[in-house]
Symmetry: C2
């Protein structure tokens, strides 16, 4: 017996329909790539997305076609997503910070037919486009007045492209499992892998994101997604924002502390989200120049572990709640958020900050477990760590073209590649990447825990811990340090600093000082490259 | 091209799994039918629901079987729903306030195989059960110590029934469109009609309900659903509560002002929901005996129009936000909520109360429109009213056994039978039921608007307006009044009170005073019965 409820497929363009109908005048404010602040609203965004759909359909773009975007967060990028989605095509976000060969490889892998690109990246695309034979047309996200000189063939300005349509168009209708978007993983641990979202997964994920224990977006909020749409599906904001009817503030190319501060304060942003490095820049700017954040109520921080000092500064100095978040491209991407459950509501000061170093607990639609290498579930005691595995309607079932099949098991669990422990109340904490875990005498040492402690040393700018082969123990930890300007701590200083804070057998066997630690295009420490760089290192006397 | 996301069906029992895993120790507090306050938590509720599933399976109950419940809101009723859902059977809530013949008719229509019943209703069921041949077994929601003398054959106590199972059981797996629950409409405008929810619709509806502009449930909330689970799918609380991880406070049979006050204050309830009459009783109790509501932050009021005086008292006297809500059994049931969008954030005092007499705006997953009789959409100007039609994944596609097919059109819109206007910001206001609308000289007069005004008169306890045939105008409004104790307003007083507040041609042609206005089992004015009662009335001189 089936229920007698309407067949109403979960399609992404229904989200912008909702926003335009019930929150039509709500602002979408952007720092345009051309310079000035630009103001529009959901009703206009929808209308222009409809025009784009209509125009794309005329170019023969339809169900399943991949259309790439390489762009900052602006109203035009947002419109592009909905325009692409509206004909059943697949938005494919590109990270412009990757090497251009890597971008070309990704575009060829995805067989992108079109590319929407910001002015900023036209020169970059001139290098890439000739290597991508599937590419038929390039739309530059500007108007004719700002069109650059370019060697690109068949390039057109976005404004003139959509001006050829009148918007008298109906969104395509199709199964909710149809592909909606594509995003490659950051490539921190190896080659980027293609993740393909469906309309259903995007809609369910956005509904999940709205919950009070998650982003908690209300129509009275003003959301600034500083996290670019090209990072891990934009953390759902392109859908959860319009779905909630909140105003959206788009930072464009202005990712520096000063620009972010201006947008936060001038546009009265109430909630924002980005990786730790962005907030470090903002806090440094505020420490130097002064300022306050009277409208901002919470900031979501994830992508890599949020340093305790950032959380403390936001909360104690500026009265802004920090919500630590963990997610992955493969999870659409939100996995856990560290909102405060009643069990922990009494915590204050240092104890609260301790809790907030954890990555948090999952919402309904995300299931998680930790297991040993034999897939046996481990206890949730807040210290036993193991492989973190997840399941849910917005979690990948496979990578594009079947890569990485070993990460998916038959019961539908996806191995995140992260190593974590979980406490009795379901708060998860990442202790490592499975590929970075250090195996000493058969036991695991968490590199992230040691790093987190080491960056607490006043002379340390950045710290990384890697495993180096050891004749007796298989592997032992090596601490790699970048020191702050004009500081020169000794090895002994650093070891002494860690002493008593970690188990004796976790203590790094050596400390080395370097000028730089290699980073990925999303700003994460790239341990593959670091290990490569240090491949000739061996422990003194070993 | 399909997305590469996991196939994770939206099944109701995943909700209690989530609650038990991440909020396992969160309290479920009930006023038991036996008397004492009872405390349990989500982990225990889930375990006992698993036992119930296991036990039901042993009795041959499985996919699609209807299992009725006639019970107050308690932990046992909540467990029953999940236990029934867990084998793929269909919970079918019965309203004990209906005439017993009507209940028997409904049970036969649904062909219920089992019935879970509270002690309160055993005598009632003794009258009904012999008339329902499909009924195989009756479970009384108590323990053996409290089992009553009863003529019911094959009756067993809930506690001994589930004690026969150990809980070592796995929830059934099936398509998310499988029937989950059944609830008949209130029968205000005619015979009750059967609505059949699916697992998918219940889950999507609960996800919608959690949004900040809707119920806004967080794990730190303590929710008291005063609205019974047998009214319109319990307003989603059986699913949205556990999904959010909030504590639940179940009022049991204690629906009077004093009992409700005790639960609100002793259990530190932060959010509650019920029909206006419940709140009238609470406010009367508080006016008489005094008291405060320091923990309560918001109260959701719907089912019939929320009188302005109730909203004012909660907000001005007790500092509790009122959220007016409109919904229907056929909508799972939440349709619109009157949360405050930024467009109206500046309103205060009377202007804010005016806004709150509106039923509000729909969330994502609910689409609405107003049309004339020819299905042409009408403008959203806050005054033009028409038939209210809705669409969404938690809206009925048909009634059970295909009744009322005329309410469903080919484009998937469901005609609510309500008449409403919508303002430019999407705030909807119900002006009438289509069946109650008064057609005077081809134009519509809203009976609800006149009633809302008339109850504002200090001598009026209750007011109803119905159309009476008129030789010249077809129909003209008649105002029917129940006066407060010891008051005796004249017809002229009442007409004078309305003068200037409504259009001249809306003015009732006559006023009559009655002792009682007939009500439905859910406390709504039953205009069919009222018209019947007054069928011999004709206007003086007409
Ligand atoms: N709050 C956080 N704390 C610690 N690590 C985090 C946090 N949020 C995300 N991460 C890390 O980022 C990963 C997800 O990042 P992303 O999907 O961008 O690609 P990546 O894993 O860095 O790259 P690749 O999968 O290609 O190696 C997580 O698996 C986790 O290791
Ligand atoms: N806030 C509200 N203001 C005015 N009317 C409301 C409100 N909430 C609900 N209603 C009325 O209640 C109806 C839904 O009630 P329900 O589903 O319990 O059955 P019913 O419509 O009363 O009975 P039946 O459909 O059998 O005649 C709505 O269609 C609307 O007329
Ligand atoms: Mg990864
Ligand atoms: Mg009805």
């Amino acid at each position: 017996m089936l229920g007698l409820m309407q067949d109403w497929p979960l399609l992404c363009h229904k989200v912008i329909d909702h926003a335009a109908t019930y929150h039509g005048q709500r602002e979408v404010v952007s720092r345009s790539v051309e310079g000035p602040i630009h103001r529009t609203n959901y009703a206009e965004v929808r209308l222009r997305a409809l025009k784009l759909s209509q125009r794309l359909a005329r170019d023969g773009i339809g169900i399943g076609d991949r259309v790439a975007t390489m762009a900052w967060n602006t109203w035009r990028h947002l419109e592009s997503w909905y325009g692409i989605l509206g004909v059943g095509a697949v938005y494919h976000t590109l990270n412009p910070r990757l090497f251009h060969d890597q971008i070309a490889w990704i575009m060829n892998d995805a067989e992108d037919r079109m590319l929407f690109v910001d002015l900023t990246f036209v020169k970059l695309v001139e290098l890439i486009a000739p290597k991508v034979p599937s590419l038929e047309r390039i739309v530059i996200l500007t108007d004719d007045a700002h069109m650059p000189e370019t060697s690109l063939v068949n390039a057109v300005s976005y404004e003139s492209y959509i001006a050829e349509a009148d918007g008298d168009f109906a969104w395509a209708e199709f199964d909710e499992r149809t592909a909606a978007g594509m995003c490659y993983t950051s490539g921190t641990t190896g080659d980027p892998k293609g993740v393909v979202y469906s309309h259903r997964s995007n809609v369910l994920h956005a509904m999940t994101a709205l919950q009070p224990d998650m982003l908690s977006l209300a129509s009275r909020d003003r959301l600034m997604p500083v996290v670019p749409l090209f990072h891990a599906n934009g953390w759902s904001t392109a859908f959860s924002g319009p779905m909630s009817g909140c105003a959206m503030v788009m930072p464009g190319a202005g990712m520096d502390g000063e620009s972010i501060y201006q947008m936060l304060t001038q546009e009265k942003v109430t909630i924002t989200a980005a990786v730790p490095t962005v907030w470090l820049m903002l806090l440094q700017r505020m420490e130097k120049e002064g300022g306050a954040l009277p409208d901002l109520s919470r900031v979501v921080i994830g992508g890599s572990a949020c340093p305790r000092a950032i959380t403390k500064a936001f909360q104690d100095d500026y009265g802004v709640d920090v919500v630590h978040a963990w997610g992955m491209t493969e999870m659409s991407p939100l996995g856990t958020l560290c909102s405060i459950k009643p069990e922990y509501a009494h915590l204050e000061g240092d104890e609260k900050l301790d809790l907030q170093t954890k990555q948090g607990h999952p919402p309904f639609t995300v299931e998680m477990k930790i297991t040993d290498d034999e897939n046996v579930s481990l206890p949730w005691d807040g210290s036993t760590f193991g492989r973190l595995k997840v399941r849910g309607p917005a979690v990948s079932s496979s990578y594009y073209k079947g890569r990485g099949a070993e990460q998916f098991d038959t019961e539908g669990w996806f191995d995140t590649g992260d190593v974590a422990h979980v406490d009795q109340f379901g708060y998860m904490q990442i202790t490592d990447r499975a590929k970075d875990v250090i195996k000493s005498g058969g036991e695991w040492i968490s590199s992230i825990e040691i790093e987190n402690l080491a960056v607490g040393h006043p002379d340390v700018a950045e710290a990384a811990v890697i495993g180096v082969t050891h004749p007796k123990w298989d592997e032992r930890p090596l601490l790699v340090i970048v020191v702050k300007e004009d500081r020169s701590p000794s090895k002994e200083d650093l070891i002494g600093f860690l002493d008593g804070k970690i188990a004796k057998w976790w203590m790094p066997d050596d400390v080395i000082f370097v000028d730089d630690i290699p980073h990925t295009a999303t700003g994460k420490i790239q341990k593959t490259a670091l290990r490569d760089q240090l491949k000739d290192y061996s422990f003194p006397g070993a």
